[in-house]
């Protein structure tokens, strides 16, 4: 027994739950009437923390799916829970709470109290072995039903939970699907994998002739996934979802597919799409109606579901009905008449057809297309009950007979039938409740909305209301508390806004994508970071998103060296991403960065590359800006001769250009669109900062000149080139020929913890010591190849660093080059997905001798667009972009050095830093 300190007693108030972590175990602590209880901290049903749940009457309700546990005993009190929560011994010692994980709590679960058994000869046969059947059997036994129970199911499995089939089971064919019946504890005689031929009159006849006799019969035959009635609807590769086997084959298909078409924009269709996107598969979702969920929900809510899907890269096409599916090579071609969609698999989620044939043959009355039952589950035929998806809701809801194909109804109607069969009264009907997990969002719906309802919204909750304005349902996205509250009282809060038109998001980011072919969707390959799809480098929408999320996001962008603007009034034109900015030094010595765009008519007002001015004047209408970018003067602001002029409420303060946050370090100037950026120190991290400070070692910088060039490649290729030490000895045969860099050199490819920055480091070594086998690998190595003027390759060790060469890639737009003694800044200015401009600023230090400056210039022949190395890099990157543009829709293979999945590597033969960069990129891009 290992008691351990879990929390200070003061951290846990009366009737409160908190979460703590003891070693590897998540633990939830509760205080009830002064006493402390401890349970495992994670729900036994889905991954949710009990600390986020609702503690009420000694029960903790899981925030995700409303399962409730008894806090004292850990007992699972209601579905969807099938397993109890482990409890732990807990006690208060002084002002501390102590827990022993090896000892259960004081009130470990006891066996379910059984009602007094009665007639042990009455026979129950249950036809159909799903959720409702299991609920009925459990309820019947709990209510005291003592006779034999036979369970007949077509599926070869015990009753199991179906909700995971459209969720986690699609991601992993081996995922565990919980059973929901314990046949031993309930003494059930199983007839699984058996089909029923007929039933009624006290007899159930199985295929093959066996007969089961009953005194009570429960029909829980569920339903079938509705099939498309178009040519090709049953082709291999067209999937429907109802059973575990269906889920397994969809999981298999998703593991192999690159693109799928999902047919149907209801809950199942969206969950299928969500799983596919999670697997990195491109998805086009086809919905027949003008909006998703159109049969179930009002259009504004359907639009919200659609936008959620679209924001996760699903291409949603509405108003398109599938006309046919045809084999097209290895793929399938889905036709909607005018359009064709190619896919590796077609996933269909177009609803459920209740399985009523047996009941109909037995004479049971139907309503709403399903078996009519009363609140106790009785059908129109005495002795026959029905429950679950094959049955209609007992009472009219909102004026009509309806089916509720939900988990809760299967559970409740099953339990009602079970109790009724055992002679007990049914529990009162609960408000319809439904949940869906899609695109990382938990969606819960309580109540009965109709598509014709009005909709009000507040935050992530939607309320529906009938024509009289009475609330009919709440649909909450990731807001379990709202559902919890609505169970007590469904009211529409005063601040909710009525949506009488479908809402559009501020920017429909996918508008540009419509009409593109499926192969252009943004699905990351399933293999993960060892593959990089071409669209990362060539797609205009990706590029625009990069500008917004990266260059204008939470990044420090290089803009200038302080030495370029030493005096008040000095300025240079620069860029943050593609956006032109002015970098100026004001009278007070401050450095200011603001957009180079007149706020009047958008003119790029600062035209010279650099200069010195007292103020900036837009040439078009002479609006003037001071050195800090503040709008100063507007000609004829008050008009002329009493006429014209600016509106009376015009204030110059309201019309300045966008200013950026600025930071400097060791003479290097950075700017950011984020107003609350972390310090540069925190942004770079300690390791990258150390290399930064090794190059910018405190000596004042002296500018030696610039290079500028265009490069017809994606801007990220430049980062990758410098996170790719593999290329250095293979592409740059100059280095190898003259013995500067060889694969055996001491080297390091450093990646910061975030993966966005990197430093490629190497130390010059003596070429005479290169192993023969290394030389053989590098075809260019020639012993004795010498430069006529070897001074170019001299290295004067002027830095406090073990490396003679470091190339720092500082996300997103800066490269710091320290190639022995030739030093430079490279600034990336992207101009589109397929091209960028590179601005180089070469520098030395104050105090350099003329000979040192001359040496830096000589060594400069290595770099730049005509440099021995630089021209090769530029050419190679152009070749890469050419390859992607001319043989499109492929992917890059960056799998070198599997021992280092992502991050720092001490071998040159590695691509781990590239993978680390894409891990970060995908996070920021949400892709």
């Amino acid at each position: 027994m290992a008691w351990q300190l879990a929390a200070p007693a003061g951290a846990l108030a009366e009737n409160q739950v908190i979460g703590v972590r003891l070693g590897e175990t998540e633990v939830a602590l509760y205080r009830l009437n002064g006493e402390v209880f401890a349970t495992h901290g994670v729900c036994t049903h889905a991954l949710a923390f009990m600390k986020d749940g609702f503690l009420e009457n000694g029960q903790i309700e899981c925030p995700l799916h409303q399962g409730r546990f008894d806090v004292r005993s850990g007992r699972a009190l209601c579905a969807p829970l099938s397993r109890n929560l482990p409890t732990y011994a807990a006690e208060t010692r002084g002002d501390e709470i102590w827990v022993d994980l090896d000892q259960p709590g004081r009130a470990a679960p006891t066996a379910t109290p059984q009602a007094e058994p009665h007639d042990a000869t009455r026979r129950l046969v249950v036809v159909g072995a799903g959720q409702a059947a299991a609920a009925a059997i459990r309820a019947a036994r709990e209510a005291g039903f003592a006779g034999p129970i036979a369970l007949v199911g077509e599926e070869p499995h015990l009753p199991y939970e179906r909700p995971p089939l459209s969720k986690e089971a699609l991601l992993d064919a081996g995922a565990a699907i919980p059973d929901c019946l314990d046949p031993a504890a309930t003494s059930v005689d199983l007839h699984l994998g058996r089909r029923v031929e007929s039933l009624g009159g006290g007899r159930v006849t199985l295929a093959g002739g066996a007969v089961l006799e009953y005194d009570a019969l429960l029909i829980a035959t569920g339903g079938r996934a509705r099939r498309l009635s178009v040519p090709g609807a049953d082709l291999r590769g067209v999937h429907y979802l109802r059973t575990r086997e269906d889920a397994d084959s969809i999981a298999d298909a998703l593991a192999k597919a690159r693109r799928v078409v999902v047919v149907g924009g209801g809950f199942i269709g969206l969950e299928l799409a969500s799983a596919a996107r999670k697997m990195g598969v491109a998805v086009t979702l086809l919905e027949q109606a003008p909006e998703l969920m159109a049969r179930l929900l009002p259009a504004p809510i359907g639009a919200a579901f659609r936008q959620l899907a679209e924001s996760h890269g699903v291409e949603v096409r509405r108003g398109l009905a599938v006309q046919s599916i045809a084999q097209h090579g290895a793929a399938l071609l889905v036709s909607t008449g005018d359009e064709f969609f190619e896919a590796d698999a077609v996933l269909v989620g177009v609803g459920l057809e209740p399985e009523t044939a047996l009941a109909t043959a037995a004479g049971c009355r139907l309503k709403a297309g399903a078996i009519a039952i009363d609140e106790a589950g009785r059908t129109s035929i005495p002795g026959i009950w029905a429950a679950g998806d094959c049955a209609a809701y007992p009472a009219p809801i909102r004026g009509a007979d309806r089916r509720l194909e939900s988990w809760q109804f299967a559970e409740d109607s099953g339990a009602a039938a079970g109790r009724s069969i055992a002679g007990a009264a049914p529990a009162p009907l609960r408000t319809p409740w439904f949940w869906s997990d899609q695109f990382g969002v938990n969606i819960q719906m309580l109540g009965m909305p109709l598509a014709t309802d009005r909709v009000a919204r507040s935050g992530a909750c939607y309320w529906t209301a009938d024509a009289e304005g009475r609330p009919t349902a709440i649909i909450a996205l990731n807001d379990a508390a709202a559902i919890h509250a609505a169970r007590k009282s469904l009211t529409i809060p005063a601040q909710a806004r009525w949506l009488d038109e479908p809402e559009e998001p501020p920017m429909d980011t996918h508008a540009e994508n419509r009409g593109l072919t499926l192969s252009r969707r943004y699905a990351w390959p399933a293999e993960g970071l060892t593959r990089i799809p071409d669209w990362v480098y060539t797609d205009p929408w990706i590029y625009e998103r990069e500008v917004e999320r990266i260059f204008k996001g939470r990044t420090w962008n290089y803009v200038a060296l302080e030495s370029e603007i030493p005096n008040s009034g000095d300025y240079i034109r620069s860029h943050v991403g593609p956006t032109p900015v002015v970098v100026s030094r004001a009278e007070d010595g401050s450095i200011n960065v603001f957009e180079n765009r007149c706020t009047h008519r958008a003119a790029e007002f600062c035209r010279e590359l650099k200069g010195n001015v007292p103020e900036f004047v837009c040439p078009y209408h002479q609006w003037t800006y001071d050195l800090k970018g503040n709008l100063q003067g507007v000609p004829f602001r008050r008009g002329a001769a009493g006429k014209g002029g600016m509106p009376a409420d015009f204030k110059v303060e309201d019309h300045g250009p966008r200013k950026l946050a600025v930071t400097t370090h060791r003479g290097v100037v950075f700017a950011s669109y984020a107003e609350d950026m972390e310090s540069l120190q925190d942004y770079l991290g300690a390791e990258v900062m150390r290399e930064f400070e090794a190059t910018f070692d405190g000596r004042k910088l002296v500018i030696l000149g610039h290079y500028r060039h265009t490069l017809p490649g994606n801007w990220k290729l430049y980062h990758e080139n410098l996170k790719d030490p593999y290329h250095a000895t293979l592409l740059h045969t100059f280095l190898v020929a003259f013995g500067l860099l060889v694969a055996g050199n001491r080297s390091l490819m450093l990646a910061d913890p975030s993966g966005r920055h990197g430093v490629m480091c190497s130390a010059k070594s003596d070429p005479s010591k290169i192993a023969a086998e290394d030389k053989k690998e590098m075809r260019a190595f020639h012993d004795g190849m010498k430069l006529e003027d070897p001074r170019m390759m001299d290295f004067f060790d002027e830095f406090d660093s073990e490396w003679s060469v470091t190339m720092s890639t500082i996300w997103p737009n800066l490269i710091v080059q320290r190639e022995m003694n030739t030093l430079g800044i490279r600034q990336i200015v992207p101009t589109g997905p397929n091209e960028f401009i590179m601005k180089w600023t070469m520098f030395g230090f104050e105090g350099d001798t003329p000979e040192m400056t001359a040496h830096r210039l000589r060594q400069g022949n290595l770099m730049g667009p005509a440099g021995f190395l630089g021209l090769e890099d530029n050419e190679a990157m152009k070749f890469v972009q050419d390859g992607m543009l001319r043989v499109p829709d492929g992917e890059h293979y960056v799998a070198l050095d599997p021992a280092t999945p992502e991050g720092t590597s001490d071998t040159l033969i590695s691509e781990s830093a590239i993978r680390a960069m894409y891990r970060h990129w995908r996070e920021v891009m949400g892709i």
Partner: protein, 169 residues
């Protein structure tokens, strides 16, 4: 030739200009043919060669795309481009005009200027694009009677280099 003609400074200027013009024609033909080792021979032993942007030149900033102090570095450049450098196949066409030649100094050296255009044709594009527009700022000297470049600074106006400058200007 009669002395009276030789003495006419206008005529000697014209002859010198014709000689420099022929030099530049030869120089361009050599580069157009990508005979880089022969190109080396246009320079004196201490010859200086640089390709520098007008931006840098006008600001007295010394950095050039290419920066060779002496014929040995010019030769290293030629050798490296021929033997080690990787770049896509291309043709170049060097055009020189607006030649101006200053009168020679007593030691025979003189300065000269000219404008140049370099067209570049990539094998997968239909167009000849302008790789550079600029001017030569030259210092000539005679070595054993032959004109050599003691210095050629190629000052280019086209600040944004398209991708890479692979063959010298």
């Amino acid at each position: 030739m009669p002395d009276s003609i030789m003495m006419d400074p206008r005529l000697s200027a014209l002859l010198l200009r014709a000689e420099v013009d022929a030099f530049n024609t030869d120089y361009c033909a050599t580069l157009d043919a990508q005979k880089l080792m022969e190109w080396v021979e246009f320079f004196t032993e201490d010859g200086f060669y640089s390709v520098i942007s007008r931006e840098n030149f006008d600001s007295n900033l010394p950095v050039g795309l290419i920066h060779c102090e002496g014929k040995a570095m010019v030769k290293d450049r030629a050798f490296a481009l021929l033997k080690t450098a990787m770049f896509g196949p291309r043709y170049l066409r060097h055009m020189v005009s607006n030649l101006a030649v200053d009168p020679p100094r007593p030691d025979g050296s003189f300065a000269a200027r000219a404008n140049y255009i370099v067209f570049e044709v990539l094998t997968d594009r239909p167009d000849a694009r302008i790789l550079q527009v600029g001017s030569f700022l030259d210092e000539f000297r005679r070595v054993d009677g032959t004109l050599k470049l003691a210095s050629r600074r190629c000052i280019y106006d086209t600040l944004l280099v398209p991708t890479a400058l692979c063959i010298p200007v």
